[in-house]
Amino acid sequence: MNNLGSKITSWIAQLVAIAIMGQTLYFKFSGAEESTRLFAELGMEPEGRLIIGILELVACILLIIPSSITFGAMLGSALMTGAIIGHFTQLGWEGERFQLGMLAVVVLVACSIILYTRRYTIPLLGAALQGRENQ
């Protein structure tokens, strides 16, 4: 995280992740029809919808506060992995579902980019990575 380039890359990725996750929050919390249908299919209506919504909100906040960006990206990538599992196992990729699934993939990629640029600050892993590069 010392050069400007990777700092800018990380912030762009953060904004992308926040924008996508944040925009779906509204549908999750307001119980929009499409959203409730999705979670009903997963057998998680309504608690699961709210839990995931809250976790996404937390991830967005962590992604904004400079000292917690790494944690936000970790949480974000975990949530998106779950979403992608959902698409593969139950929701499928047809029609609108494809768009939704791809958004999850985009957020996952964004979070991975953030984690890569800040890899030395990842708990546990960071120290080992540093050790590898100093060999």
């Binding site: 997963l42 699961g48 779950g82 959902g86």
Partner: protein, 509 residues
């Protein structure tokens, strides 16, 4: 055959390494068949599997992680919190180094002006290594003490002698090693206490001058602030600098106890734009000063250089060194005698001295500790009949009145300390001076960390610390029956058989 009760960690690790991916699969199935909620665990285990795979196959730096995977991580986690656990819980009051809890809390109490009477008994060792001060049968009263003025430069008739009213100096710490607020704290404290502060080898003393305390300008081997392009002394720059009223004396650094034989070191983490400008060095690289002054190649040139600096600055000029080979020191003093040119003082720094950053091998293994070094230096000066031509300043863990008193008995005129004042300003001995992460904001340039240091409050603590040190030294003096520091001598010490000083005992104890 007795069975071993301890867990075979290697077997356990092999089990975990298979169990983690297996469980990942199981939770995935559970998420698929039973409830999607199981995927919360699935996801966690996917990440755990990836982390474990990386430890086992992706990295080579840590053998333990390569063999044991995340199970091995437990060891590193425990190890990393070890120092804190030991400091807070497991080490007793007299065990820590460099300063144990007793020594630190004595400084804290003095700085906060809290009564430092102890109860029940001493925690010190009374065995054959501990030096003690001998008291007189008829102690004197404080009003009978002579004032403890020390005038630097009086011996040689220096045109601008300097009189220090209390025998304490804040030892060299550069702006660079210290952050801006720490420099201001020490400078303001020195001003309130009416003592001297040494600038350290950090170049132009910008913040020190703003605070207006009396200063010793230290000329390190790199001569930051007064160097020409080749790293030699630029006379004009020195003249301009000492034209500042606050600069009362100049100290030429030959060596420092924590790293004698090596030049100063400022890690790149601590080089800000401002510091690179003040020192004239590049950012992003460690700054390593040369091990010696370009002008000083042998004892002859070294002595001439000292008198040259005296000539140019017209101020008292001293040298700082850690004792090494005694015959060399004898040679140096003999040469001073031959040229009839003496520094106005010599600072003897013990090898137990501190540093913002020094190679561990040098900190641990090079140089003579303060007490034997000081005694040796004082003896050589006395034997050559020139002890009255200069003052001796001593430093090296002299943070409490006990050790200070011993140093005074060994021949020191003035007590100098760096870490004593750091502790007084709130240092908790986190031992991170070199990494710019000082948790209480003294040796860091990070504004967030420096924020913790309240300059006015901590300056008062410095003053309290000096007041209370002086109080204790005066009381100790009274107990010995001496009326001033200069009357103290080696005979005022009880030196038991196993002390490093025992070699100097001539009369039976």
């Amino acid at each position: 055959m007795t069975g071993k009760l301890v867990v075979n960690l290697h077997k356990l690790a092999r089990f975990t390494n298979i169990a983690i991916p297996l469980l990942t699969g199981l939770f995935f199935l559970a998420g698929l068949r039973i409830s999607f909620y199981f995927h919360f665990i699935t996801v966690a285990f996917i990440f755990l599997t990836a982390l474990n795979a990386f430890y086992r196959f992706g990295q080579k730096g840590h053998s333990l992680l390569r063999n044991f995977g995340i199970l091995g991580q437990g060891r590193y986690i425990l190890e990393s919190i070890g120092p804190e656990l030991r400091q807070y819980l497991f080490l007793n009051d007299t065990e820590e180094r460099p300063f144990n809890r007793n020594e630190r809390s004595e400084v804290y109490r003095k700085a906060q002006d809290i009564n430092s009477a102890s109860s029940f008994g001493s925690q010190k060792n009374f065995d054959s290594t501990e030096v003690k001060v001998r008291h007189a049968l008829f102690p004197i009263r404080k009003k009978d003490l002579k004032p403890s003025n020390v005038t630097f430069g009086e011996e040689r008739g220096c045109p601008n002698p300097y009189t220090l009213k209390r025998p304490f100096i804040i030892s060299a710490m550069s702006f660079g090693a210290l952050g801006e607020r720490a420099v201001r704290t020490f400078a303001r404290g020195a001003k309130q206490a009416g003592i001297l502060m040494n600038t350290g080898e950090g170049g132009y003393p910008k913040y020190h001058l703003e605070e207006g305390c009396d200063l010793i300008f230290q000329m390190g081997t790199a001569k930051f602030g007064v160097r020409d392009d080749e790293g030699r002394l630029d006379d004009q720059k020195l003249r301009d600098l000492v034209a500042n009223d606050s600069i009362k004396m100049v100290e030429i650094k030959f060596s420092q106890g924590a790293k004698p034989g090596k030049g100063g070191l400022l890690p790149k983490e601590k080089i800000t734009d401002e510091i690179s400008a003040l020192r004239g060095v590049r950012k992003g690289e460690d700054v390593v000063s040369p091990p010696s002054h370009a002008e000083c190649v042998d004892i002859e040139s070294a002595v001439s250089f000292i008198s040259h600096v005296q000539e140019v600055s017209q101020l008292p000029v001293g040298i700082k060194l850690c004792m090494g080979i005694s015959s060399e020191f004898r040679g140096l003093v003999s040469e001073m005698k031959r040229q009839n040119a003496f520094p106005d003082w010599i600072t003897i720094d013990g090898s137990e001295g501190g540093s913002g950053a020094a190679p561990k091998s040098f900190m641990d293994r090079v140089g003579i500790p303060l007490f034997p070094g000081l005694k040796r230096a004082n003896n050589i000066l006395t034997e050559l009949g020139v002890r009255n031509r200069l003052k001796i300043v001593a430093s090296g863990k002299l943070v409490g009145p006990g050790r200070q008193m011993i140093a005074l008995c060994l021949g020191a005129d003035v007590i100098c300390s760096a870490r004593g004042y750091m502790l007084a300003a709130g240092c908790i001995q986190a031992m991170q001076c070199g990494s710019n992460t000082c948790p209480i904001g003294i040796t860091t340039h990070d504004p967030d960390l420096q924020r913790g240091l309240d300059i006015d409050l901590k300056a008062t603590r410095i003053k309290n610390y000096v007041d209370n040190l002086e109080h204790d030294i005066e009381e100790l003096l009274c107990s010995t029956g001496c009326r001033s520091i200069s009357e103290l001598s080696f005979d005022h010490l009880y030196v038991p058989k196993d002390s490093t000083l025992h070699a100097y005992v001539t009369k039976p104890n």
